[in-house]
Point group: D2
Chain length 228, copies 4
């Protein structure tokens, strides 16, 4: 099965402008090389960057970092699925620990995404939350213990039981949902450790966004996804 | 003094994609004709459209519909001033009734905007709120009684006392802040009525975004701003 | 199995003060008569009324309308499980459509409630949301299509498929969670219709809180719970 | 002029139950001794404790920690001014840094409180925010730099310029609003230092709520308010 390397740009200084374009191109280069080996690279930039980056990519995919659970209409300051799709996003990540949403909104967005032919990646903080979300059949769930996010302490090493717990919890509900591991992934070994636990991919952020050489880092992560 | 015509795209179907581009071009055409007469046209599109539209405009200006009160960093799903500035926004609208923010956030964003050389338009629902915001010296305040937004009942006719109350309240605090009238402005006469009350411009939305001929509507509004 | 009659006081004028006490006493009188027949009456007053009402009741139980997902500490303006328990609440209702919370908060509160020996009633707007919540094993789930709340159009008649859908969805996950029907229940027949669909009880609000004779209404509802 | 000693119970373990009652009685004892000297003691407990504590106090006053900006009605899980008034609160504190609200809500609550004859204490994080709030004429404003709350580093010593800045900012708008200093007040000298800066009182929390001898601490603070 295809392995997923998802890169959350967050709101880092490198998430927009020239640096964002450079990281997107690095992701594209790696995507081109690894697509036939079975790795898909997804970048998740801020909404202001979706159109500019998506229009320059072919192999790397673009997801939005968040959408609001509203349709078209009088919703000043809201971001809709229609907007991010029109800008070139192929999917949407929702419920990241830095932007949690309500359960009824998660259901609404997953359903609406399916209608619009958009892909979905939903973040979960615990195995039980992961299984609750799995019932709604998004394409992917990323398990991220919030206390490890941004720490450089990889979930796959510090809390492997959270990853395996999430895997078991999700698989007991459905086998059609991919599970990614996130939080604290810094080195290729962290990726390998996650793969060893059985995940379908990883969700990374600062390790790439703050890297001196983002392309090298992305490539190392892609290679590590395939090692086992 | 220059009169302001601010067009809030909201999240209408016409706020993104081909239709948004058409309205932005119509705004640009009107802006080119009216800039020497003393009318400034500002469009306020969703974040996904800022870069695409701003890169095509010279006379019409672009503001963001909302920003979050955070700097760069680990803020997945947030929109920062740095992002919208990099995408080409010259300013930001905040505190619209469909996206209210807290008072401490209003102060933070106005201060940070000044540091970054960005312009600010802050919405207020009552004269007292308008004067509270005026103390923080944004460039513009738009007074919009929420109960009239989207009704087609213009504030300048239905509640002229709210507009004059806001004008007096703001002017008692500072003379350096422009006051716009919003909510329910549908026809050129509504714009004229607002100008008669003493405002420096208008904030419109559905009248343009749902118009069969947006350019004609924008031109009529621009003309009405100058009539008195 | 015991049938549940849960009365949400909301923030109606009758939810506090003299009128609230009168309704609580009516609930107590009905509870005393119906407990041996297998009906449990639960009142759900505002936090300011929990201690005053709970200290006067023996058969009717008291639940809180909401708690925040925080423990003890520097949380000004928050309501904790510890607070409502100390005041006499036996359980807590969470995620009502007028006070939705996030999925991670739902899990936290259910877990913490179990630790503290408190009962849980979680509201859900759709069958899928109901099943997601069922995975977390609260004692009860109330299915309430938000569009019917306060309308006087009973869910059991207007949208029986939502009720049966929720029943099936919950039962497919666990048989240990009770399902209540809510939204629009006005007359005893609405209660009977809900029971016919297979629910374990009902969640009512305005029908009691705005009744001229609350005790008569509560008694009628209790009787209807037993008719089938 | 009467000096104010306001004690925010927050959600500390001592904020409810037996310990809360003990602290309330200590406040009452101090209030009885100091009222003729010109000190008013206000306790600010959680909503679940208002009725129980207020019914036992005569000289010490009770304020709520927060209310929602809604009237009576279908607002499950919300706390209204009517509820806290009925429970015995004489006023309400709003906009604490741990429970910030929007500017339009601040105006609504201040206006509604005046209608209901309730007193208001509004928290502010900066001098500019304090002056914005002063325009709405609450009875009191507490200036609390959030970064000092709970640190034990008193604002009156660490950031005296924030206190004097707030005093000047508020007094330039109105002379009828009292200004309290909060955040980090631990010892009687911190209170004296605040009084020296010109404030009308102090807002304290952990220093009392976590004290081994709350009554001694409250008495020391009351004495310090009068020393200069």
């Amino acid at each position: 099965m295809v392995k997923i390397l998802a890169i959350n740009f967050k709101a880092y200084r490198s998430s927009y402008g020239q640096k964002a374009l450079q990281i997107a191109k690095a992701a594209e280069d790696v995507a081109k090389k690894f697509v036939i080996k079975g790795v898909e690279v997804i970048i998740i930039p801020p909404p202001t960057e979706i159109e500019r980056l998506a229009s320059r990519l072919t192999e790397a995919k673009v997801f939005a970092q968040h959408v609001d659970a509203v349709s078209e209409g009088a919703y000043t300051g809201h971001i809709t699925l229609g907007m991010v799709k029109a800008a070139g996003a192929e999917g949407v990540m929702i419920n990241h620990s830095e932007r949690r949403i309500r359960l009824d909104e998660i259901e609404w967005i997953i359903e609406k995404s399916k209608e619009l032919g958009m892909r979905t990646l939903v973040c979960a903080n615990t195995p039980k939350v992961a299984s609750s979300i799995a019932l709604m059949k998004p394409e992917m769930i990323a398990i991220e213990p919030p206390e490890l996010i941004g720490t450089g302490i990889p979930v796959s090493k510090a809390k492997p039981e959270v990853v395996t717990g999430a895997l078991n919890a999700v698989k007991s509900v459905t086998t059609s949902v991919k599970v990614l591991a996130g939080a604290g992934i810094t080195d290729p070994e962290d990726v390998s450790a996650a793969i060893d636990l059985g995940v379908d991919g990883v969700l990374v952020a600062s390790a790439v966004m703050k890297a001196e050489n983002p392309e090298a880092k992305i490539r190392e992560f892609a290679e590590a996804l395939l090692k086992r």
